[in-house]
């Protein structure tokens, strides 16, 4: 019986021009959105490759030109000297911290176009380093990327609605259902199969197209990744299909069903997320970056004004670096000491931002359950490695790397200063103090995991289950005798 219904349904839909349009839209959008997401992640890969190449070639150039530098008799300014610890630390170091996109990155660009994914590290206040960003057209940021996640979240439900809004009700309105019931059909079977066919017309081509493109384009994209992606998308689409079933089972007219389903789409995909974002922002307001600038200036001023005091505190905090040398207070040590003082003073302000971001995340975590769109979007973004969790891990690794570099330079600079290496010698300004650039700490990328789909998706399963139960109850009523009104 199921086969008979499915084949007739397919035949019926196929003869409707709409179906061909839906199929082509699904395929075109799947391919186009994949291509955009893929291009985006490739562009990031390219930037990271160039950065790493630059870093390697800086080390190589330093190795190759060392002899020349050692024989150099002319005047060299330390800020232009790649063999000078201070020059490297403050101006010349080519040292990148990068977050390469994952194999799953083309799925959802997420915040990847906003969050920095590489940092050129220098010994400077952390606050200045982490504010770097890759320039993307702001309008593009406002409109969002046309990626697979967009097609999944916004377009697939519309296509499912477009195909399913008249399931069962079309038959009910035009009278076929009455005859079918008299012929002995089970209305639950009819609706279930109709929804299944209509869902498949959208879901199957989309998954086939997007998964094959993802698998073909990147050898690191595993079958497991493909299964997880398909699972998330299928659950979301199933939700919309069951919601359509739930609405059509109320037996209203097809136009009313379409209007109700579109209102649901609008509510779940646009209004609820936007309202929640607005309320989230109002409940957990991000501290003002303008105030932050103000504080940064203030702290920098006071640290610089009290530079001698700052330096004294620095040596108090780092007694291992203090020596018996008479005057260690050279420019570089002072600068590092000031940087550390500013960083310490700004710590509380940075924490305030992180704390608010955490609060906003928690709020969003809790309230994302109100809409399947936000639930699935966050699952897709996390899965593609372009979400907040991976970024926070990366920022933490960057902060650690920044610390490591600072530790390296402050130790080396103080030591060199105490050895008198920065004192001008005959024929040059200073001795080479950093002959081998490989000793500079390199960024170790530890952030690589794809997070598994979140447990919150189970909620979606529960919602689907609840919808199917309620729908079944209603549909059974359609075929049976009623006491007050005839349903068919």
């Amino acid at each position: 019986m199921n086969r008979l219904i499915i084949t007739t349904e397919l035949k019926n839909l196929w003869r409707e021009k709409l179906t061909v349009a839906v199929l082509s839209i699904t395929l075109i959008f799947a391919a186009l959105s994949f291509y955009n997401g893929y291009q985006f992640s490739q562009a990031q890969h390219a930037v990271i490759d160039i950065a790493q190449q630059e870093q390697l070639s800086a080390i190589e150039t330093a190795q190759n030109s060392l002899t020349q530098r050692l024989s150099e008799q002319g005047s060299i300014k330390w800020w232009e000297d790649i063999y000078d610890l201070r020059g490297q630390a403050f101006y010349l170091m080519v040292n990148y911290a990068t977050k390469p996109p994952l194999a799953t990155a083309p799925i959802a660009v997420g915040q990847a176009d906003v969050f920095p994914y590489y940092f050129r590290m220098l010994i400077s206040e952390k606050q200045n380093v982490v504010q770097q960003y890759d320039y993307v057209n702001p309008l593009q940021l406002l409109l969002g990327q046309f990626d697979l996640a967009f097609v999944v979240i916004y377009i697939l439900p519309l296509l499912i609605i477009g195909l399913s809004y008249n399931a069962l009700t079309q038959e009910q309105q035009t009278g076929q259902l009455r005859i079918l019931l008299l012929q002995g059909i089970n209305p639950q079977h009819l609706l279930k199969n109709q929804l299944l066919v209509r869902l498949s017309l959208v879901l199957v081509p989309f998954l086939l197209c997007s998964n094959s493109l993802l698998l073909l384009s990147n050898k690191d994209f595993t079958i497991q990744n493909s299964l997880i992606f398909s699972l998330i998308v299928s659950l979301y689409c199933l939700f919309w299909s069951y919601l359509a079933g739930f609405i059509v089972s109320k037996g209203k007219s097809t136009a009313t069903n379409a209007a109700i389903l579109v209102a649901c789409w609008l509510a779940f995909v646009i209004i609820i997320p936007a309202t929640l974002n607005t309320l989230n922002g109002a409940a957990n307001p991000t501290p003002s970056r303008i105030h932050y600038v103000d504080s940064l200036r203030e702290q920098a001023d006071s640290a610089k004004k009290a530079s001698e005091k700052t330096l004294a505190k620095f040596f108090q905090d780092h007694p291992e670096l203090a020596s018996t040398n008479d005057n260690p207070s050279d420019y570089a040590t002072k600068k590092i000491a000031t940087i550390i003082a500013i960083e310490q003073a700004m710590h509380a302000f940075d924490q305030a931002f992180l704390q608010i971001q955490d609060q906003q995340s928690q709020y969003a975590q809790a309230f994302k359950l109100l809409s399947p769109a936000t639930l699935v979007y966050s699952a897709l973004v996390d899965f593609s490695g372009n979400g907040l969790t991976r970024q926070q891990d990366f920022m933490q690794a960057v902060a650690q790397h920044h610390q490591a570099l600072q530790q390296f330079y402050k130790t080396q600079i103080v030591a060199a200063s105490q050895r008198g290496d920065f004192t001008p010698c005959r024929g040059c300004n200073a001795r080479p103090t950093l002959k081998d650039l490989t000793v500079i700490p390199q960024f170790k990328n530890t952030v690589n995991d794809t997070s598994p789909p979140p447990w919150s998706l189970i909620l979606l399963v529960l919602a689907i289950f609840a919808l199917s139960l309620k729908t079944n109850q209603r549909v059974i009523q359609i075929g049976s005798a009623q006491s007050q009104e005839v349903r068919v």
């Binding site: 008979l4 007739t8 003869r15 079918l180 012929q183 002995g184 049976s480 005798a481 006491s483």
Partner: protein, 244 residues
């Protein structure tokens, strides 16, 4: 003398009300094998309510109906197995052909036949052969009715219920339709036909029941139909009833 086995459609003391409105009030009717009963009555007389009770879509308040001895209230599946129904507008899938519609609706009722047999059915109801594979949205109303009858024949139902079957048909299509009905009756199908078409009722029916305001106000058997002017009987009953 008819036996109980001959009675296919049985309506016993059927009553139904919707809120304050009494749609049916103690209606008794039977339709035997091979009999065509025309159910007449003005709009709102209770014809459609009677049909809905017979089809198992409406619960009677009192009394009961039986289709080939089965009460749809007790076993709707079995009751419907013996039933075929043709509404005023035969609802078919417009993008499927007549043949495809026939095959689908029949197979849903678990009727297994070859394509040739299905085509033969369409030939039997005089659907032009060139239309077999054309989508139904290009069919006239008469052609749709024919496909509807073919579906009913394929099901080999013991009872056929028709709701305003000739409304909107041109006279020749209406005539053709009545021929098919006669043919089915001859094959032993009990036919209940709710209609406003007094001419067709007089021509085709073996018995006539007149409903007004939910009550069975008159019943004419075959002999009576032959001897009276149906229109005047009908109008007499309708006008005689006090208006509310």
């Amino acid at each position: 003398m008819t036996t109980n086995q001959d009675v296919i459609i049985e309506i016993n003391q059927l009553s139904k009300h919707f809120g304050d409105y009494q749609a049916l009030n103690d209606v008794n009717l039977t339709v035997k094998q091979g009999e065509v009963l025309a159910l007449l009555g003005p709009n709102g007389a209770g014809k459609t309510t009677t049909i809905n009770c017979l089809l198992g879509f409406l619960k009677p308040d009192n009394g009961q109906v039986r289709i080939a001895g089965v009460n749809p209230q007790q076993n709707v599946v079995n009751a419907r197995k013996n039933l075929a129904y043709i509404p005023e507008q035969v609802a078919l899938y417009p993008r499927l052909s007549g043949l495809e519609n026939l095959v689908y609706f029949s197979k849903v009722a678990k009727v297994e036949k070859s394509e040739q047999e299905f085509k033969a059915l369409l030939e039997q109801v005089a659907l032009p052969a060139h239309a077999f594979n054309k989508p139904v949205n290009s069919y006239s109303k008469g052609m749709r009715q024919k496909v509807g009858i073919a579906i009913a024949i394929a099901k080999q139902a013991k009872a056929l219920i028709l709701d305003e079957p000739t409304s909107g048909l041109d006279p020749s299509a209406s005539y053709e339709f009545s021929q098919l009905i006669q043919q089915l009756a001859k094959q032993g199908v009990a036919i209940l036909m709710a209609t406003h078409d007094l001419f067709r009722a007089q021509e085709d029916a073996h018995s006539v029941a007149i409903l007004n305001q939910g009550r069975l106000v008159d019943y004419l058997n075959f002999e009576q139909i032959q001897t009276v002017q149906l229109e005047s009987v009908y109008l007499k009953h309708i006008k005689a009833e006090p208006s509310c």
